[in-house]
Symmetry: C2
């Protein structure tokens, strides 16, 4: 243990991240330190947490954004830092209302770069009606931080929080759009390939305009919601299966993947289901509402939204994800481990 | 502007920080984007922000901690990250109930170091009765971040938020203990002097056991509260004066400074009033309650607590701080600019 060092995979959001956090943090928290004021906390390890104030669930999410490069096809670290934490509040069933940001910049960063990043961050907030209520700015000496790092905490209010452990056998799994684009775009940008020419563009976007109508119309039927960021769809579905002790069966050919992403992933031998999305949601929906949810998603402009699988109960298996392949066979879709792309978000 | 770069002073919490944030962020926020749900936001630029949920003020603070070295006399980055954000919620008049943390570590950091830091962080939370409800862990490749960086968001509830702009002529300024110790300890640690031998130890500590009884007994009489971190007592008082358009007169000889800190500062030509405290509060108190507040502070173990000045109104001057020196003269106590110690917190 004492000779161990932190590895990139510890920050990749997959198996190693969970193991390290469990060991250093979660196992040390007595249950009364996992929640506050009757809310949802580290007992659930969901996209965000809640506290209950005056009878109302206040949702809070936090994430540090380290993406490299800071400007990439489809967005930049400012847009990502705004969307990522807004989406986490939405995935908890909350309506985002306020943001706090903590920027750490490297000495020597052009002010014009910081300016572009802040403008991009603020323009998401403006469009989404989210206020910037607080923040922090620090600077590290040249060479001690590569560029800029932004941490955001988003605050929202929820009638009833959505907690992913509540998926149950019979629920239908829906994805709101094509997957893996953010990860593929960052991977290509880091490898220095002509990304725009390849058509690899991040899907980073706030999910507000999709999630608020869905929550309003079908809030009670949406059992779980997660934006498959680090470790992708494979990671998110494995978390659901493990938390709920169910088996999730996904139909590979139904999962929408853009042709450019599929080709690029094949070339590199990477599974697009392990790659981060930053503007998609995975939903587990009560089967009676699945058709209506899909229809509303289409109305809201999600033309690639699709039913990709279902939750099953099993006596023999618990906590696994099975993928039905093109050939019709079933294989286990593992929770990603190792690191595909460092600083992906 | 385009040729400007981010400088260390932009992150020092003094004049340059305010100027940059005003230009890049605050000036671009329409007033409706500065607050949310009737709370306190970037309209006040205070230690934290609030939203109102179910008639109750929910207080939220955020700060990134970059302190170098991560282990220092009196504490470490884990303790600092817990205390700093807890204290910010207290300074807003809130009772801290929950914490979220986002850790970014450098690849290759010994897990044993991270372990010590996390244990230290959790032990503060445990003692203060604050739950850890959410978090994030990311890893940056070796050489892209020096060590470890922690961002914390603390959440609390307040009956009525304390907003520093509300100081008014006649209020008495009280400090809860000796000042400048954290800054002096970090400065000495960075310069590689035998710090413990010099008796320079950080004052980092949560202010809960002081502030909760004070708020309970004299909440209505405490007009402003601030923990003088980056840019120290000089920075905090100048902020109060500017926000309220008052003149603050402080009596230099009344400000408690440990002899070791005074001697070290004299040697380096640094003003202890510009150095960060991480376990002290500055309070502006209604004059009718000042004696009682001071007596309660003494009861609570703050034997160095002292009245150090008062708020005045003036027709001719607004927004300045005057320091009465040992010799009896008055001089302007400027808001600190430049950078004394990088990565002080």
């Amino acid at each position: 243990m004492t000779s161990d060092v932190v590895r990139l995979s510890h920050g990749a959001g997959g198996r190693e991240t969970t193991t390290l956090l469990e060991k250093l943090v979660i196992s040390r928290l007595p249950s009364e330190m996992k929640t506050a004021l009757g809310g949802v906390g580290t007992d659930e390890l969901d996209d965000g947490a809640t506290i209950v104030a005056g009878g109302q669930h206040v949702v809070i999410s936090i994430d540090s954004y380290t993406v490299n490069p800071p400007f990439f096809p489809g967005g930049d670290i400012g847009k990502l830092a705004a969307c990522g934490s807004i989406n986490d509040v939405l995935m908890m069933g909350g309506r985002p209302v306020a943001m706090l940001d903590a920027i750490v910049a490297e000495e020597g960063l052009p002010v014009s770069d910081l300016d572009r990043i802040v403008q991009s961050f603020l323009s998401v907030l403006r469009e989404e009606g989210v206020s910037l209520i607080g923040g922090d700015l620090k600077v590290m000496p040249r060479g001690q931080l590569d560029g800029v790092l932004i941490t955001t905490a988003c605050v929202g209010v929820a009638e009833r929080p959505i907690v992913d452990s509540r998926v149950r056998p019979g629920d239908v799994v829906i994805v709101t759009g094509t997957v893996g684009e953010h990860g593929a775009a960052i991977m290509a940008a880091q490898k220095g390939i002509g990304v725009e020419a390849e058509g690899l563009v991040s899907d980073v976007q706030p999910l507000t305009r999709i999630m608020l109508p869905l929550l309003k119309e079908y809030g009670e039927s949406i059992r779980a919601a997660q934006d498959p960021t680090r470790s992708g769809v494979a990671g998110a579905l494995n978390e659901w299966a493990q938390k709920s002790g169910t088996v999730i069966v996904v139909n590979g050919p139904s999962i929408p993947v853009r042709e450019e992403v599929r080709a690029y992933c094949e070339m590199l031998g990477v599974d697009p289901l392990s790659l981060a999305c930053e503007g998609r949601a995975l939903l587990a929906v009560d089967p009676s509402a699945a058709d209506a949810v899909l229809a509303l998603l289409r109305e809201l402009g999600c033309e690639d939204a699709a039913v990709i699988g279902e939750i099953r109960g099993s006596e023999r298996f618990r906590g696994i994800v099975l993928l039905r392949t093109e050939a019709g066979g079933l294989r286990i879709l593992e929770r990603p481990s190792g690191v595909i792309v460092p600083r992906i978000c």
